[in-house]
Amino acid sequence: MKILVLVKEVPDMERVKFDSERGVVDRSSAEAEINPFDESALQAAVDLKEQLRTQEGARAGTRPEGDTEAGSHAETEEPAEITVLTMGPPRAEKSLRDAYARGADRCVLLTDRAFGGSDTCATARTLAAAVRRLGGFDLILCGEKSVDGDTAQVGAETAEFLGLPHAYYAEKISLSVAEAFVTVENLGGRKQIRRLTLPAVVGVTKNIASPKLPTVRRKLESLEISIETIGLEDLNGLLTADETGFKGSPTKVAKIRVPEELQKENLLIREDADRFIRVVGEKLVERGIIQEGCR
């Protein structure tokens, strides 16, 4: 089983600051980290690998005696390989090292100046090309969305470019030989169990797995590993320069507005209950909490 996890590097949202005057996100204000949703996807991959290992172990245990060669083979070969792929600037390799610490077997950085300025469509196209190039994945996991862009588009768009089925909001995945059964957390007010033919793309919620802490040993090892990189040249025949980066992006950000901290109205009403209900009622209507026609 070959599992691919798509991750994005994002700024730590608890610390990142915004400049309302210049309308920019001050990325230097916060450490970059793996998008928390993607971290859950990676943990889900690690858990799936562990399950497969247990199953395989059980199967090896029931093998008829005398089949020692196959038995020893099963012990040495890992039942699954986890590859982590991220697209970003060279510094994003730091997140890949973190992914290694958390259980990834192979880490690939998709980086090239030509990829800069990609919108979700171009990003998905580029990722799809890289996935084709790496080849052979049975299951592709990603977080349901990123905490910075919050578009929740790239997973499904990548699936479309790869011609694979996808499911979002997965809180549970179980694998059989050629299928995945996915429990979708909330679609139209209900849970859904979905059968996907493999290979497939699955976007997961945080509920699928709580990321576990890496060991200190693996964390220290991760500082030393080498990271594979893929650039535009490596995608020859799969992606052209016009299909990626700023050029390949149908959407353009015209401007960014950072709303100034709203001044609280801080209105304190005494005794006049009607006025209080009227004033707050108007605000509730404004915010779509209640319909008009009430006070």
């Binding site: 730590d12 608890e14 610390r15 802490l213 890496p214 200190v216 964390k219 220290l220």
Partner: protein, 459 residues
């Protein structure tokens, strides 16, 4: 409370900031002491919320004239009953005096009104590149005045010491109403007795602190927490001493009985990830550069390994570290229904293993248990006495005395950080020499001749 007093208080602060309404004063009675050990409160008190030092001064003049006890209330996060009024009193709540007067980045000091909460201070310092304040008693609702006057501690004392180390000066109002400026933005100041330091740890029995000058520090940008599980408690203790000797001083080293980590995590819907071993340490590191951080991690991991540590875990993200700290800090919710008294003793670091061993043996002797939670690298040990069948056991007083005796035999103190408050006044008599107690009483009399400042506290 007499109508006349309430009227005069209203004259000082305005009607919105004075209340004696039974319902409204409910939230001004207790701090966070266990219910069983709370002091018996008076229900006849008035809460006043001054907005300026001048108003505090007028309130004190009124109280002195009428000889009415005054209890000053900060964030209400104390653990010794210090802010609970036990006589008919005026409770001064400092919540409105929450102005950040100055962040002086040149002298690296902050001037703050007493009601500024730790959270407000930390939020403000976030705005300045690379500034921070290290003392953290656990609850960020704590106010600066309260933290100063109780000499608050917390887990980070291993590296940064306690509140006393960081207060350079205070503005204080005496019972007479006189306003004093003590200390200042001075690193060196050798003129006469240090009254600032005298007020720190006085728990509201000498004067009202209305303003503090606080030392602030450059922020360590990189931090990590190591979860280190050991096969035995002794291994963990030896590792702690080796770490302290190594020169890589962690921000904090926290110990809790393993079942408390496991149980609290489960209560919070989390999972304690160190499955093996018998004793876990949380070792919190913080450094200026990433390289320094990993060097410390390497070094400390090596020390743990030499002391037979099992597979160590690494929490590098804020979220991950917060989660570990949450488990550490929420253990109280996990055990609170089982315990009738809890302690805050401290011994020299080298004595911690022997002392905790004594506590466990004592519990065994009484066929009961005790939960041990320790800021292990600064010798501060929290443990408790358990209910038996939902009641305070008849041996509770005796067991407490024997725990204290064990503590004293290791050169310890009955309170490392929570203070004496109203719940350990009698215990203090067991620790201190009569001559020292007499001096304390004398000092109290000089400041507060009518004994109106938080009577029933400390001494």
């Amino acid at each position: 409370m007499r109508e006349q007093i309430i009227r005069e208080l209203i004259d000082i602060t305005g009607p919105d900031y004075v209340t004696a309404d039974r319902e409204q004063i409910q939230s001004y009675i207790f701090d966070q002491v266990e219910e069983t050990y709370r002091p018996e409160p008076s229900r006849d008190f008035v809460v006043v919320k001054p907005g300026r030092t001048e108003e505090v001064s007028q309130i004190m003049k009124l109280a002195s004239r009428e000889k009415i006890p005054v209890v000053v209330r900060g964030g209400g996060t104390g653990l010794a009953g210090g802010c609970t009024p036990i006589y008919s009193s005026i409770v001064i709540s400092m919540e409105r005096m929450n102005r950040i007067v100055e962040i002086d980045a040149d002298n690296m000091m902050a001037v703050l009104e007493a009601g500024v909460t730790l959270m407000e201070l930390l939020t403000e310092l976030e705005k300045y590149e690379g500034l921070s304040f290290p003392v953290h008693p656990g609850d960020e609702g704590a106010q600066m005045g309260g933290m100063a006057v109780t000499n608050a501690g917390g887990a980070r004392a291993v590296r940064h010491g306690v509140m006393r180390k960081h207060i350079m000066g205070v503005e204080a109002v005496l019972p007479s109403g006189e306003v004093l400026e003590l200390g200042g933005k001075l690193i060196k100041n050798n003129a006469g007795y240090n009254l600032t330091q005298l007020l720190l740890g006085s728990e509201g029995t000498l004067a009202v602190i209305t303003r503090v000058i606080l030392k602030i520090y450059p922020k360590d940008k990189y931090s990590a927490t190591i979860v280190a599980p050991f096969p035995h408690f002794e291994n963990a203790c030896r590792a702690v001493m080796d770490i302290l000797k190594s020169g890589s001083v962690p921000l904090a080293v926290e110990y809790m009985d393993k079942r408390l980590f496991v149980g609290t995590a489960e209560m919070l819907g989390l999972e304690w990830q160190a499955k093996e071993g018998d004793s876990d340490l949380l070792i919190i590191l913080s450094e200026k550069t990433e390289e320094q951080l990993y060097n410390s991690v390497r070094e400390i991991n090596e020390i743990c390994r030499k002391n037979s540590c099992l597979e160590t875990l690494f929490a590098g993200k804020k979220r991950e570290q917060d989660e570990l700290l949450l488990v550490r800090s929420q253990h109280y919710e996990y055990i609170k229904n089982d315990i009738c008294d809890s302690f805050d003793m401290a011994v020299p670091v080298s004595q911690v293993p022997a002392f905790i061993g004594d506590l466990k043996h004592l519990a065994e002797e009484y066929h009961t248990g005790t939960n041990v939670i320790a800021h292990i690298a600064d010798g501060n040990v929290h443990n408790d006495i358990l209910y038996v069948d939902g009641k305070i056991p008849n041996y509770a007083a005796e067991l407490k005395q024997r725990m204290y005796d064990a503590c004293f035999s290791h050169g310890g103190t009955i309170t490392g950080e929570h203070g004496v408050g109203k719940i350990r006044v009698n215990d203090l008599l067991r620790q201190k020499d009569p001559a020292e107690l007499e001096l304390m009483r004398g000092i109290k009399k000089v400041f507060d001749p009518d004994n109106i400042m938080n009577p029933g506290t400390v001494i």
